[in-house]
């Protein structure tokens, strides 16, 4: 199973299951993601992209089918096991940066490492690692600033550094450039690409922007909860 990072088989998601207003948003979905891949997930609003991302991110459970993450079947995991698996394998980048306003940029980057400080000894000097990552995203001067003092693009860079601080194997990004101007979007995207090449981190990027999708290695298109298209792509 070493060749697969994610394997979904017959995955289904039904909201309000068993109620009259039940709604099936993902139908019988199969998907395999390889380590180190750089994949775009596209599709119209309401096609189930966010739901799929939440399930992949172990933030929500599936209603049917199987999900294997990094070789482990996580379908039946309870909340604690899911939290742990999420913490060990995954990183998140959200559309609205989602930094904690009470913490400095460096502290926000350190947070995922701080959570597990009591559980495992990985990470070495957490702060040094956070500063190194902030340097890598071009924010070495902003380490002690609070998110409120940073621009949108800078906040998203902090969020990227946070997603990478524990060297996850897969980063799930939900519209990471959704509310940024074109120029900033390009630089953020370039940053993700660089981490993918330099560190071998796999990315799954939900985006509306065909320009950005065109720069990925693979494009998966979701329509009405089904995979409508899944093609390799030659980045422009």
């Amino acid at each position: 199973m070493d060749g697969e990072l994610v394997r979904l088989e017959g995955l289904r998601k039904i909201y309000n299951e068993g109620l009259p207003n039940a709604e099936e948003v993902l139908h019988d979905l199969d998907l395999v993601l390889a380590p180190g891949g750089f994949t775009a997930l596209i599709g119209p609003s309401g096609s189930g992209k966010s739901t799929l991302l939440n399930i992949l991110g172990l933030l929500e459970g599936a209603s049917g089918g199987r999900y294997a993450l990094a070789g482990r079947d996580v379908t039946a995991f309870d909340d604690d096991e899911r939290t742990r698996a999420r913490h060990e394998v995954l990183g998140f980048i959200f559309q609205f940066h989602h930094l904690l306003p009470a913490f400095t940029a460096a502290e926000n980057v350190m947070l995922p490492g701080l959570i597990s400080r009591g559980r495992d000894s990985a990470g070495g000097d957490l702060r040094a690692r956070a500063l190194e990552l902030l340097d890598a995203v071009g924010l070495s001067d902003a380490a002690e600033k609070k998110p409120g003092e940073l621009s949108g693009g800078m906040q998203q860079r902090v969020a990227i550094a946070r997603a990478l601080v524990r060297s996850p194997r897969l980063v799930l990004a939900d519209e990471p450039t959704g509310n940024l101007d074109t120029q900033t979007s390009d630089s953020i995207f370039a940053l993700l690409r660089r981490f993918n090449r330099e560190r071998g981190t796999a990315f799954l990027i939900v985006t509306h922007d065909p320009r950005l999708a065109a720069r990925c290695d693979r494009i998966v298109e979701l329509v009405d909860g089904r995979i409508a298209d899944d093609r390799p792509n030659q980045p422009v």
Partner: protein
């Protein structure tokens, strides 16, 4: 950020919601200060009242049993039924073998001191003046451990050599005598003796000041015609409010009549008890209000921080860790409130101890820095904060991270 994850986040959340945090700590502090203050005032006022009421009384008195008339059993045919039973007049009765009883009494749990007393009524005579007095003969050194006379001393020396007497100030005035003067005491049995006044005492009530004459035990015994014997044993107990409990232990041990200050002042005791119940109620309600305050602020905080809780969960914080974050906030708010409240309470006590005075113009309560009390209050507040935080912390732990992040 080297402390634990839960503590770090809890502190940041509290600091971030500065206004809420300050308000709830202020609320908790006022609650604690009020509890602190009424406890101090109550302790002071009750102490003063008890001192005043018990004054020259011992906490517990051991007396010989009362003499009763034993009517013949009624009902048999040849014995006429008694129409009425007349109570026997009470002679001056004595306790036999008192040294042994005194030693046994001293070993009872809760008893701190025992003193033998030979007491009876007599006449105090000087010149044309004649006053009825209560003659109390005792071993002064032991007696002082039972009843504090040192703070009642108005003039002279607390000392009882043979031929010495300590008298109430009103009696001295009535007899026209002062320290060093002599007066005669004549008992109902007819014998008389001359005593020299060594000291004047203010026993706290006019009645006592008018009648009490303390002499050496032997002199009283011979005046009352009971050489070698005593009329009662006066007992001091460690906790005055527990006098009844000690009394029942004494009853189980001896066949004597046991009387406590609580029986002789039942109304005062009932008033003190009611006061205690009322203040307990006030304290309980203040505690509940403070707990509800902490709870509601944290409930609101969980709602406000939904998204942040969601992010923390997404980046790997467990439910248990989120629970810990909010429980810790409750504990910290409680402890901070207790510390501020204790300081505030001490200030209130020191301020009011200058204003509130008793009849003699002394401060009603003294400012006692009981650090154990503060420690107890802080520990209690920590537990209270923890309990108050349970509901909001569970809300935080149960938040669905996917939903929390979305909206």
């Amino acid at each position: 950020m080297t402390a634990g994850f839960e503590l770090t986040v809890a502190l940041r959340f509290l600091r971030e919601g500065r206004m809420q945090t300050l308000l709830i700590i202020g609320g908790a502090a006022i609650g604690v200060a009020v509890i602190f203050f009424i406890t101090a005032v109550l302790t002071g006022v009750q102490g003063d009242l008890i001192r005043r009421v018990t004054g020259a009384q011992p906490h517990v008195v051991i007396k010989p049993p009362e003499e009763v008339a034993w009517p013949l059993a009624a009902g048999s045919a040849d014995v006429p039924r008694l129409a009425s039973v007349q109570a026997r007049p009470q002679r001056l009765t004595t306790i036999d073998g008192w040294p042994a009883l005194a030693r046994a009494t001293e070993t009872i749990e809760g008893v701190t001191a025992v003193a033998p007393v030979a007491s009876g009524s007599a006449l105090g005579l000087k010149g044309d003046a004649s006053r009825s007095v209560v003659l109390i003969g005792t071993d002064l050194e032991r007696y002082l451990r039972v009843v504090r006379l040192d703070d009642k001393l108005k003039a002279g020396l607390l000392q009882l050599d043979p031929g010495d007497a300590l008298v109430g100030i009103e009696l001295a005035k009535d007899l026209g005598a002062g320290v060093g003067d002599r007066f005669r005491v004549q008992s109902a049995q007819g014998s008389a003796e001359v005593f020299r006044i060594r000291a004047l005492l203010d026993l706290g009530s006019r009645e006592l000041n008018r009648r009490y004459v303390y002499t050496d035990l032997r002199a009283a015994q011979s005046l009352l015609g009971i050489p070698g014997r005593i009329t009662n044993l006066d007992v001091a107990v460690a906790d005055i409010m527990q006098a009844d409990r000690v009394a029942s232990r004494l009853r189980a041990q001896s066949g004597q009549l046991i009387e406590t200050w609580i029986q002789t002042n039942s109304q005062v005791f009932a008033a003190i008890n009611n006061q205690n119940i009322m203040t307990l109620l006030i304290r309980v309600f203040i505690t509940i209000v403070v707990a509800l305050g902490i709870s509601s602020v944290l409930v609101v905080s969980v709602v406000q921080k939904r998204r942040e809780i969601g992010i923390l969960r997404a980046v790997g914080a467990t439910r248990r860790q989120m629970l810990g974050v909010f429980l810790l906030q409750g504990v910290m708010v409680g402890v901070a409130g207790a510390l501020t409240g204790s300081a505030l309470g001490l200030m209130l006590v020191s301020l009011f101890s200058r204003i509130l005075r008793n009849a003699e113009g002394q401060a009603l309560f003294s400012l006692t820095y009981d650090f154990r009390l503060i420690g107890f209050v802080v520990a209690g507040a920590a537990v209270l904060g923890l309990i108050a935080a349970v509901l909001p912390a569970r809300n935080a732990a149960r938040l669905d991270p996917a939903q929390a992040i979305r909206g």
